[in-house]
Symmetry: C2
Subunit: 261 residues, 2 copies
């Protein structure tokens, strides 16, 4: 994006897998070094922010900026690591761009775990987990998240359901009109008080929806609730953004003070 006079320009944020504390040296990935030097035009002595999903966010100074590399040293913690309990998203992989979109939006909208799923009508079974993980990291850097969603390997829907922990509600988007209005369903969810990690999982079918037998199989599961997303047929990626938005707004961290449910 372009910055203009008068805009508040936040310090760039970068993800690193290494443990962080005061005075830790961090070597940036090549693409991050390029971003910092060539896109943001920063050099030795400038500062950025860095996070690893576990140790909060750290103001860090650029101590070396070479041709293809850059080195940071952490200075002080700017935000502690919050307790975080986001929902799980289970989705059917789409075309490449749509899958990239789903993963980025799920990260912005606070999913904690992203699980590609193979259903009867799933268009593609090729899932590049490294690519999806790279997308979640980039989205987390941009959206001020302090963690990065976990990305699972693709599994068949039936296998996912066979292993299910019955304490986790499963919310299924049913485009055939068989579900409850989504906010009613979410407000009605019993979530154990204090069980901060008991957030639900949302499952969104592929373009073309779930098969009849898949929809029937949800009816037999005590932990599953089918929800309706209105009279228009949403594309799968829109349905993903919609269910996660409804969760955050009704029960998640978009409410007063973001204290969870």
């Amino acid at each position: 994006m372009a910055y203009h006079d008068g805009m508040v320009r936040p310090l760039p944020r970068l993800y690193t897998p290494i443990p962080l504390a005061e005075g830790v040296q961090v070597a940036l990935e090549r693409a991050q070094a390029h971003y910092v030097k060539d896109v943001m035009r920063l050099s030795a002595g400038d500062t950025v922010r860095i996070f690893n999903g576990a140790d909060g966010e750290w103001l860090s100074e650029i101590t070396e900026a070479g041709r293809n590399s850059a080195m940071l040293t952490t200075v002080n913690q700017t935000r502690p690591q919050p307790a975080f309990a986001g929902p799980r998203l289970i989705f059917a992989p789409l075309k490449k761009n749509a899958t990239d979109f789903v993963v980025a939006k799920a990260t912005e909208l606070g999913a904690a775990r992203i699980s590609p799923m193979i259903t009867e009508f799933t268009d593609t079974t090729r899932v590049n987990r490294e690519r999806l993980t790279a997308n979640t990291i980039e989205a987390a850097e941009q959206c001020e998240r302090l963690d990065v969603p976990v990305v699972d390997d693709a599994r068949r829907l039936a296998d996912i359901l066979a292993d299910w922990n019955g304490g986790t509600p499963l919310i299924c988007a049913d485009e055939t009109g068989g579900g409850a209005p989504i906010l009613d369903a979410l407000h009605g969810l019993k979530i154990e008080p204090g069980a901060s990690r008991e957030t639900p999982a949302f499952v969104i079918g592929p373009q073309g929806g779930f098969s009849k037998s898949e929809l029937v199989s949800f009816d037999g599961l005590a932990f599953a609730t089918k929800v309706d997303l209105g009279p228009r047929i949403l594309r799968a990626e829109t349905a993903v953004a919609a269910v996660l938005t409804c969760w955050q707004a009704a029960r998640g961290d978009w409410r007063n003070g973001g204290t969870g449910s």
Copy 2:
């Protein structure tokens, strides 16, 4: 999308600007004719559905399929035109793909009117209204809508506000944290009973947000309410999908029976 055995394959839906009634002949646009013949592999005698935003949806028979053209004849009305009152979306144009995305998602999520807006930090002032309109038509065809959102020419935010009808609530997404939780704000909106067209307008700033003076100007408007979209910084296109989702789920046509508020 690919269709599989067992999938319910809906009849293709096409938009036409001409008035519809029984036995009306409709010449398809060249791109529509290509879609019907070459993508959907239909020919004379096959049926599609057609709508114009005013006269409901009509089952129509393909009566001619030439090299670059196709002709339909309407057979019978399959759905009457519903009364429709969707919100207005006012957004700052983004890069081309992001703008296309915003317009398509706004159509899926039931916006009735889409108004590009120039703000202090808007990246681009070039808005191709024909392109946006083509995107709304394509999205409407795919999402089973019976109308197409109106697309306005781009105007400056100050000019839009100067002309405002004070009876229409304006909901402003404030990424600086100055707003109310969005569902609280929407549930609190007073909408005149029976005034089915009194839906709000949502305004979403560009990447980088509104300027300080723009945010202050909203405070001085009796019809404006600032809302908060949580602790993560959403991209502008995500914020668009989020506010329209919250509206439809809380006060719009995603509730029981879609009867509006």
